[in-house]
Symmetry: none
Subunit: 421 residues, 2 copies
């Protein structure tokens, strides 16, 4: 029985992938399918279509991974050199395949065309390769076993690559992959920095996994959101799931109340579900975020059931006239202050007839800071089920301050809704 395939590298071929305008999206599809088959992707690369350089990349990839998947470079033109470069790397000759030639000819014929001479190239097959038929295009794929390793050549267009993988590559791989599925859980956190989360999580990471299941963790940070990814690998899917669930529980307990989701839901979905569960409808008064909180709340289909609307009070006179914030309060405390935020929250709740009022006022920069209220100072207030107000300080530029403010405001609603659950 041939050796198991546990690791892979993906090699996307084509100079157009090395321009500022094109991303290799095939690798996302392939990574997802390989993971489902229990294969971990060690690395992926996009390489220019130069034969000697590509030969070297193929040789190195085969020295590192059990499986190498190339995409692209199987067309009929001069810059389609994948077949040749892989043959070079393996030290194997290419032969003309009459079956392929006939099917390419037939393809042209069916459209009333003569096959151009350059398409002859596409009938070239590496010695010993299994041909992977391509009913959706002219370029067939190839499956080559070399020692314990496998290299698969796939065409570049996703509409050709994906069915070829499903129908011809996945079944072959399934016979060579360990019965060791890879399962994944994601914990989403807001209101803490990456390093704070990591400090709490590190000791728990060490307790994950056992003799049968290995768990890999990674942490991902973006403004207002930290994600912990747990990847479990083993033999029994039920066992992996149980172990990951225990890990999620331990991490969630240690990081509560900052964890808002462990089932893939985004923060605005968690907030929407909590509001709907209570039968509460929300209205929002926004100054520095100027509509972005409402924009995110209404990203969720069906959100008209829990979102009434709101007022974007960018100018102070809007705070007074549309929200009923007393001018004296603005005068005395300034627009970015707890009393004003509270008046905005109760004002928007009452005037729009909502159950929950949420307000945000702050200094996003780059101008408007002062020694007492530097850029990044943001006040968030909630009115209705409870009266809450908080002053926060965010780092970063205008966009980061705004993004973090939106997350903090949504999270205030979540906490108020959940704690009343």
């Amino acid at each position: 029985m041939p050796a198991e395939i546990r690791t892979a590298e993906i090699l996307a071929v084509g100079s157009e992938l090395l321009t500022p305008h094109r991303l290799d999206t095939n690798s996302l599809y392939l990574t997802g399918r390989l993971n489902e088959l229990g294969v971990q992707v060690l690395a992926k690369a996009a390489v220019r279509d130069r034969r000697p350089m590509l030969r070297e990349w193929v040789r190195l990839a085969l020295s590192r991974a059990d499986l190498v998947v190339t995409t692209g470079g199987l067309g009929p033109t001069d810059d389609d050199v994948t077949r040749e470069a892989v043959a070079d790397a393996l030290g194997l000759p290419l032969r003309d395949d009459d079956g392929i030639l006939e099917s390419i000819r037939a393809r042209f014929r069916s459209r009333g065309l003569e096959m151009p001479a350059i398409n002859l190239r596409q009938a070239r097959v590496i010695e010993g390769a299994t041909v992977l038929a391509n009913p959706r295009g002219t370029a067939p794929g190839q499956w080559i076993e070399t020692g314990d390793r496998v290299i698969v050549l796939l065409p570049g267009p996703p509409r050709e690559l994906q069915p070829m993988f499903e129908e011809q590559v996945a079944p072959r791989l399934a016979r060579r992959t360990p019965p060791a599925p890879l399962r994944r859980r994601v914990i989403k956190i807001t209101g803490r920095s990456e390093s704070h989360v990591d400090e709490v999580a590190q000791p728990i990471y060490a307790t994950l996994g056992d003799a049968d299941v290995t768990v890999e963790t990674s942490i991902l940070a973006s403004p207002g959101l930290i994600e912990i990814h747990l990847e479990g690998r083993g033999v029994d899917p039920r066992q992996i799931d149980d172990l990951l669930a225990a890990g999620v529980e331990r991490l969630t307990a240690a990081l509560a109340p900052y964890v808002f989701s462990d089932d893939g839901r985004a923060l605005e979905m968690v907030v929407g579900d909590a509001l709907r569960a209570h039968g509460w409808r929300i209205a929002v008064a926004e100054s520095c975020t100027a509509g972005l909180v409402l924009g995110r709340l209404t990203d969720v289909p069906g959100s008209s059931a829990w979102v009434v609307g709101g007022v974007v009070a960018y100018a102070n006179e809007v705070k007074v006239q549309q929200l009923g914030v007393p001018a004296a309060l603005l005068q005395e405390h300034g627009a970015v202050s707890e009393p004003v935020a509270q008046a905005m929250a109760s004002g928007v709740r009452e005037r729009l007839g909502a159950d929950v009022g949420l307000a945000i006022t702050g200094i996003a920069g780059p101008d408007g800071g002062s020694p007492e209220k530097p850029i990044g100072t943001v006040v968030i207030a909630l009115s209705g089920p409870r009266e809450i107000v908080k002053t926060l300080r965010f780092a970063g530029d205008r966009q980061m301050v705004r993004t973090q403010s939106v997350a903090a405001a949504l999270d205030m609603v979540r906490r108020a809704a959940v704690s009343r659950g």
Copy 2:
């Protein structure tokens, strides 16, 4: 004088880049900027954050390219191993940098926090490296010359990476790159489909370029925005610039009035500049976009000079009570109708005391469509300098409909402001 830098490889570090969910978008930005500096990108790769494996990748990349740029893996946690792996590959030790340590401490202090011990790692510098300061985050970059070659370590977050490249890497590279410049112009268009734009532009592409300058064109489409990129290559920068300017002029003439920018400005900036030029202040009433128009208008620093604020009228009662839309109008025509949009636009303008009132109401889906008003039906109205109302029909899912609606609404303001110029 050190050898010229003509080729590069980009190495994105992080296991999260080897999942089915994340693409490395930094490489597009870096490729664009490197090309402008005359550097060709030979290959790019995403690699897991395992120190021995990463060391090997760095070593190989340095054997193939004049310049290696790594992104990511400079954070404070255990899986941030880029510093260590590059030091291994170069056979150089790491030292602690007091200056970096102090600036990270100060960053935490400014937010009233103690620096966690794990952030100490971020102060580690490879011997002989030039430290690239990072005012937008805790992870500094590093520039290391090794023989004729250069390796640059950049942080992963684009908002930290991009300014670091502009301010600290590009000027250093410019001293080492060949004087064969690549110049680029971008024309931004809204309100037309990609195929419409392409049909008009194709015959003009053929007229670009001459014996001394080659021009490459590409077209990029996203919801509500089409960009035409012109890349000119030659010997004399002035000659390239003149040729590109003539091309921009010809394309703009053929595509007017859909072209809103040829100088890099985003639509919200063009709108802001036009409003400011007139001394007009704007208020917005949003239903289906629920704050996203105001969110984009206020992305621009200083926008409080031309944005008053607005009302998000998601529920019908908000349209009546906060905007003064007659209930009878809603009853007779429905919320997504031209008379209601006009009433919202004039209502928000009058009630908020603005010069320009803008209103949007529509059906973003996935629910709420009907045979007469299918999903994607959006009505936009403007009140003030002129009274305009338009019914549009957008394709795509909820998010695409909303994004296209925002662009169309902003563009209605642009056209009204420009035509009164």
